[in-house]
């Protein structure tokens, strides 16, 4: 006759748990509460970080490549053996193009870590409509490539994003300040050059100041307005893995003579804040897990004491120490698994309550909180493993029990 793996252990574990219904219920509620807190906090922080991330970085490249700054070279090299005191005033930086950008773009696009590359000309200018004048940040781009980097089309709140010659996309605040709607005309001026463009779309870039300053125009128009014919002031890159940006920028710096910056370097404070949040979440998760483990362990220890006689009988009937250990490990696993499932349902309810009750001034949820399947499975898996780990000490105690003593009790 073939043997059934864990058949004895599972049957006895389930009966032991059913027999001590109140204890089992309490322990499962404990696990469920722990898992619910962990899953909810994780989902909340993930949602909050994703929201912060999108709001802050949604309009930014992961890596940007710019020409090196102009530096002042000393007029005369110091003579050997002499000390020279000199003072150099930094140069005013003129608008310059990234050298050889046309050949650099396809080379970068071939790299497997790079998802998209967009060339851009950017500089300051004025937007004029009627009596109104507003200083703006001009960005000249190829729309399709730029959209792959900053997902501009997703940010359109009015009109249709299009950048044919003579067309422009503007930020929502700027549209409001100048009373512009898609189809209206707007004059852009830089130095002595002026161009009139038609607004095709209004976009919400997530940050008010960006919305007030941004004007996106075709690359050639910006080159013409900013006096940089054929040139680009930066190459913007989107990477497959956003968190690899820092290392990738480092790697590019070793190969190319440009000023190359990752989003982490440009947003050091944000990265610190996100890290602090992640560490705090990790700590909360760890502490809750410890509480869950201690809860399961303490209830199972009591169960071992209560079940001394049964353990003795089973041992006398030929159950090995290993089998008795596994009976309690299976109990821990069952409690962990069922408690986790209940906890995940609770977490979903908490998320639903949060989404329903906590809303922004516009009546919409502050940000999306979702409990990803991978996160749910991870939390449930960890809780189940913790259930088994928590059962180790009680299980060893059960196995160490002398059957003759246990039966006499």
């Amino acid at each position: 006759m073939g043997s059934s793996w864990l058949g004895f252990e599972t049957r006895v574990a389930v009966r032991f748990l059913r027999e001590g219904r109140l204890q089992t219920l309490l322990i499962m509620v404990g696990v469920a509460a722990g898992v619910a807190v962990i899953a909810y906090i994780s989902a909340l922080i993930t949602g909050l970080q994703a929201n912060t991330f999108n709001k802050t970085l949604g309009g930014q490249p992961h890596v940007s490549i710019r020409p090196l700054d102009d530096v002042v070279a000393p007029a005369r090299l110091p003579e050997a053996g002499s000390n020279t005191i000199s003072d150099s005033q930094p140069r005013a930086q003129r608008l310059r193009s990234v050298a050889n950008w046309q050949s650099l773009v396809p080379a970068l696009e071939r790299l497997p870590t790079v998802a998209a590359v967009s060339a851009m000309v950017s500089g300051g200018g004025l937007a004029l409509r009627g009596e109104a004048t507003q200083s703006v940040a001009l960005s000249g781009v190829e729309l399709d490539a730029y959209d792959r980097v900053v997902k501009l089309r997703e940010k359109v709140v009015d009109g249709v994003a299009r950048l044919a010659p003579g067309e422009a996309i503007i930020g929502a605040e700027l549209a409001s300040d100048l009373g512009l709607r898609p189809g209206d005309r707007l004059t852009l001026r830089t130095g002595n050059v002026s161009e009139t463009v038609r607004v095709t779309a209004v976009v919400d870039l997530g940050v008010r100041e960006l919305n007030r300053r941004s004007v996106v125009v075709p690359l050639r128009l910006a080159q013409s307005l900013l006096g940089l014919p054929g040139g680009v002031t930066s190459l913007d890159l989107t990477l497959v893995d956003v968190w690899s940006a820092k290392d990738f920028a480092q790697q590019l710096r070793a190969e190319y003579p440009y000023r190359i910056e990752s989003w982490q370097e440009t947003n050091a404070q944000l990265v610190s804040a996100l890290n602090a949040q992640s560490v705090s979440t990790g700590l909360i998760r760890a502490i809750v897990l410890v509480v869950v483990v201690l809860g399961i362990a303490s209830v199972l220890v009591v169960s071992v004491v209560q079940k001394r006689r049964e353990i003795g009988i089973l041992r006398a009937m030929g159950a090995t120490r290993g089998q008795m250990v596994r009976v309690f490990l299976v109990q821990g696993a069952i409690v962990g698994a069922i408690g986790s499932l209940i906890g995940l349902v609770l977490a979903l309810l908490m998320i639903a309550v949060f989404t329903a009750l906590v809303r922004g001034a516009d009546g919409r949820p502050l940000f999306d909180i979702v409990l990803p399947l991978a996160l749910a499975l991870q939390v449930a898996g960890i809780a189940t493993v913790c259930g088994v780990l928590a059962a180790i000490a009680p299980a060893r105690r059960a196995a160490a029990m002398d059957p003759a003593q246990a039966i006499r009790i």
Partner: protein, 244 residues
């Protein structure tokens, strides 16, 4: 004292077995003093003696639930002193059945599940044939209608009969019973004893029964009396009054 000679093949043999507790401590106590005992296949032995004489300790040693301090112990000719805990457990599973004084059924399982538990321990599952075998045994001890009842729903005598069926389900050559009627009234006690004798008669299983009841001891085939950790009397009983 010499063991009673038996014509049968030796099932268990204990030779100058000593058992001490709290060894090396001020309260060290030797409970069994160089005890020798041989039980043959098919014997029905009563183990009697006053409280504290070492009956339960001897039964636990025979049942591989406790280790002796010194001496020799062979089951079916094979020494067991050097076996590790796991091997002892397997040996116990294959050779011995137990009936305890306080019934000691598993309260979370039905009578039938209690009886099939040794199969579950052995293989992790219970086949339909094994379940049927257990039902037959329960019917044989008069519990055909109580198979699905939990221990709490059964009387003391019924619980003890379930324990007898459980002890016999793997058909072990030896069943050890520690005061199996100690907690029962006279009628239930007789009923249980009749079942034990019947199983012995039908299956040829050896029984070692610890009892304080001289009336029951007198109905066994052989009486071994322990006094102060040594065998004071070991004699065959010729006139057995069966079914009294």
């Amino acid at each position: 004292m010499a063991a009673v000679a038996s014509n049968g093949q030796a099932l268990i043999e204990l030779d100058t077995v000593c058992k001490s507790y709290n060894i090396g401590k001020p309260n060290e106590a030797e409970i069994l003093h160089g005890l020798s005992l041989r039980i043959a296949r098919g014997e029905f032995v009563a183990l009697i003696g006053p409280s504290g004489s070492g009956k339960s300790t001897l039964l636990n040693i025979i049942g591989l639930l406790e280790r002796m301090t010194s001496g020799e112990y062979r089951i079916q000719g094979a020494p067991v002193a050097s076996l590790d805990d796991s091997a002892l457990t397997l040996r116990r599973r294959s050779t011995l059945g137990f009936v305890f004084q306080f019934h000691h059924l598993l309260p979370a399982f039905t009578a039938l599940e209690n009886v099939t538990m040794p199969f579950l321990i052995r293989a992790g599952r219970v086949s339909p044939q094994q379940r049927e075998h257990a039902r037959t045994l329960l019917a044989a001890v008069g519990l055909a209608k109580a198979v699905d009842k939990r221990p709490a729903e059964l009387s003391g005598g019924m619980q003890q009969r379930v324990a007898i069926a459980r002890a016999l389900v793997l058909d072990p050559p030896l069943v050890l019973a520690d005061e199996p009627t100690g907690n029962l009234d006279t009628a239930s006690s007789d009923e249980v004893f009749v079942q034990l004798r019947r199983m012995h008669g039908e299956r040829g299983t050896s029984f070692v029964i610890v009892t304080h009841d001289p009336r029951l001891a007198a109905r066994c085939d052989r009486v071994v009396e322990l006094v102060d950790g040594a065998i004071a009397r070991d004699e065959a009983i010729t006139a057995v009054v069966e079914g009294a």
